[in-house]
Symmetry: C2
Subunit: 382 residues, 2 copies
């Protein structure tokens, strides 16, 4: 059967019909009063979502563009930085930082384990010369389904006094609490195809006051991703370059939906879906990949024993047209990942678990009682 | 009346319903086989549009991202370059080049005049040490409605032997002939909201073999816009970062429409619309801003005497809901610009001229016989 695809990957995530309709409108001029009104509203909505009084700037680009912008607007060639690395996106931070000539000290953890906040504290405390300019890390590590303790780590960075915190919140923003100002996170990068309930194409960089101070001394070359002109034009409800107008029209609708649901309800929904997914997997004898207690609210990675994860994933796609994500790099074939991020309701979660359970059963690989996965998930949903 | 806007600006340009429908579909996974098929088809279509055997890479970003990518992937800090500057987008090239530490020699012409190819020839001939690494220029200068002689200039660059040609073809590609390989242009940058008949959000960089040779020695720092990974993943029908999936779905449909119309027919259509617009304006006593014989096939800039260009533009918008573009920078209020780029038919052109003519008449500013503008345009359309 065609055209019945359900996305349960960590991005692109499902998009509401009302957002698709807004995006499918004829474009309007990006310098028109009508579009300025859209920029004005979305700017306010984005500050609400980030829980910040700082600036949230909209870039036409992938999430990586926002990550790069966070680095090249606050740092200078040769600057010392600490990078957290416990998965593919942590690795990417290290690559971006090195591409721009930063002096990178990596604080790593095994894939599936969270970053150890005390390792950051130790490195920051030992830095009596205040050479460290930034701590760069991923909040929700999409490749492993692990959530890192951004709050504690950014607290240690504040205690250091000089360094700033730059965080990839691509799959945490809009899924779990990221009170940027309250936690003292200076730069937050995110992308539209995640908690925002939009297709990919827009990315977002939030900059606090300390990040703008760092901007003043940053010497890395930049033009398209120079956030100075973004800030200046945002004050006039505009953009420095022609933005993705139709995605912006969708953004306004999606953020309105989020405001109607409310931040607490959104976070509670993601938390319930994480609990249900984890309970369902465990009940079927499918071990979780992330360390206990550190599962991401956006995505659950599953490491089945005695089952080819890729075969299971492909069977679920073939029979039920539900797209799960595979494992990345060395986890290919060993892990599959269930996205429960963004526009996801209880029905989607029990559907995915029922489909996985049915597929396991039909492959003769169900290790428990058929129905136990759905039962456990339903119980967790309450 | 609402929802009856017609865009006659140089971007965003009007978008066909079939393209909007494709864009309004639920997104699919960007690593799925279905999406790989889209990448494969659009890659072939893009080569056809660029008339090249080289690579045409798709970036999620504004046109300026493609311009920047052209520079940072082929040049190194301190490299000497010649930049053509005869308008706002020529100025932007100079700014981008300087932002990345290039040694820029500017060859300028007054706004409204074309760049003088002989000035490029002289500078290249005088460069016996072969210090000049690139010649950077705008093909169709959107701010003034002037088309520069890219063919002749890139011929001089080839004769130089070492330098490459980097061209902003944002409002020329898909409007007039840009046979990249035949002319020996090494890098061509363009954007989706122009001749492509798409909303903004995608940009394109075409790289010939000499451009890839230059890539090998380029030392400018880059990550998001590093074209190496774009080339590598394009060979596998994929992208290095999550692309704007929905715009890609629209791109496929738009390029199919272009292939059905055919390049010669597309260029002839733009040429006729330029002729009709120019004839209509002249017949109403409205002087063209671009020097005679150098009008862009994408946009006609008009410099009315004794008429506030901005007032005329706003009246046309208010009364007829046709959006014309204003003048940029020092041309504000002195010039208005009529976009006839992309998904524009004869009806759109005579409608715009009739609306301008009616507005002039109602303001008591028509200098000729009422109806003369439409008559001249109709005559030129044939």
């Amino acid at each position: 059967m065609q055209d019945k695809l359900t996305l349960m990957i960590p991005g692109p995530t499902p998009v509401p019909e009302s957002v698709l309709k807004a995006m499918g409108r004829h474009p309007i001029g990006h310098r028109s009063g009508d579009f300025q009104a859209v920029v004005q509203r979305t700017t306010e909505q984005l500050k609400w979502l980030h829980q910040t009084d700082g600036d949230v700037l909209v870039i036409t680009g992938s999430g990586t563009a926002a990550m790069e912008a966070g680095i090249i607007n606050t740092l200078s060639r040769g600057d010392k930085v600490l990078c957290g690395d416990n998965g593919k996106f942590g690795e990417r931070w290290v690559k971006v930082a090195r591409a721009f000539g930063l002096d990178v000290e990596v604080i790593s953890a095994e894939w599936g384990q969270p970053l150890n906040p005390e390792a950051f504290r130790d490195a920051l405390t030992a830095d009596t010369n205040k050479a460290i300019r930034a701590v760069i890390l991923t909040h929700s590590e999409t490749s492993t389904g692990v959530i890192n303790d951004l709050e504690t780590i950014s607290g240690y960075v504040r205690a250091h006094g000089t360094a700033i915190t730059i965080a990839d919140c691509v799959t945490s923003l809009g899924a779990t609490d990221v009170p940027m100002d309250a936690w003292g996170v200076d730069v937050v990068a995110s992308g539209s195809q995640k908690g925002y309930m939009l297709p990919p194409g827009l990315s977002f960089v939030a900059m606090g006051e300390r990040a703008w101070q760092a901007y003043e001394r940053s010497d890395l070359p930049k033009f398209y991703l120079d956030l100075g002109p973004y800030r200046k034009t945002a004050a006039k409800n505009s953009n420095p370059f022609t933005p993705a107008v139709n995605l912006y029209l969708g953004l306004e609708v999606a953020l309105e939906m989020m405001q109607q649901e409310g931040l607490e309800a959104i976070f509670a929904r993601h938390s319930r879906h994480r609990a249900a997914t984890q309970a369902g997997m465990k009940a079927m004898g499918l071990p979780l990949f992330a360390a206990e207690g550190f599962g991401s609210p956006a995505i659950t990675a599953v490491a089945p024993e005695g089952v080819d994860a890729e075969q299971l994933r492909q069977e679920v796609k073939k029979r039920f047209d539900i797209l799960l994500a595979g494992g990345q790099d060395h986890l290919k074939g060993k892990v599959f990942r269930i996205g429960h991020l963004g526009f996801v309701c209880d029905r989607d979660v029990i559907t995915a678990i029922a489909a996985i359970e049915t597929t396991l059963q039909s492959l003769g690989l169900h290790k428990g009682t058929m129905g136990s996965g759905v039962a456990a998930a339903a119980d967790a949903l309450g």
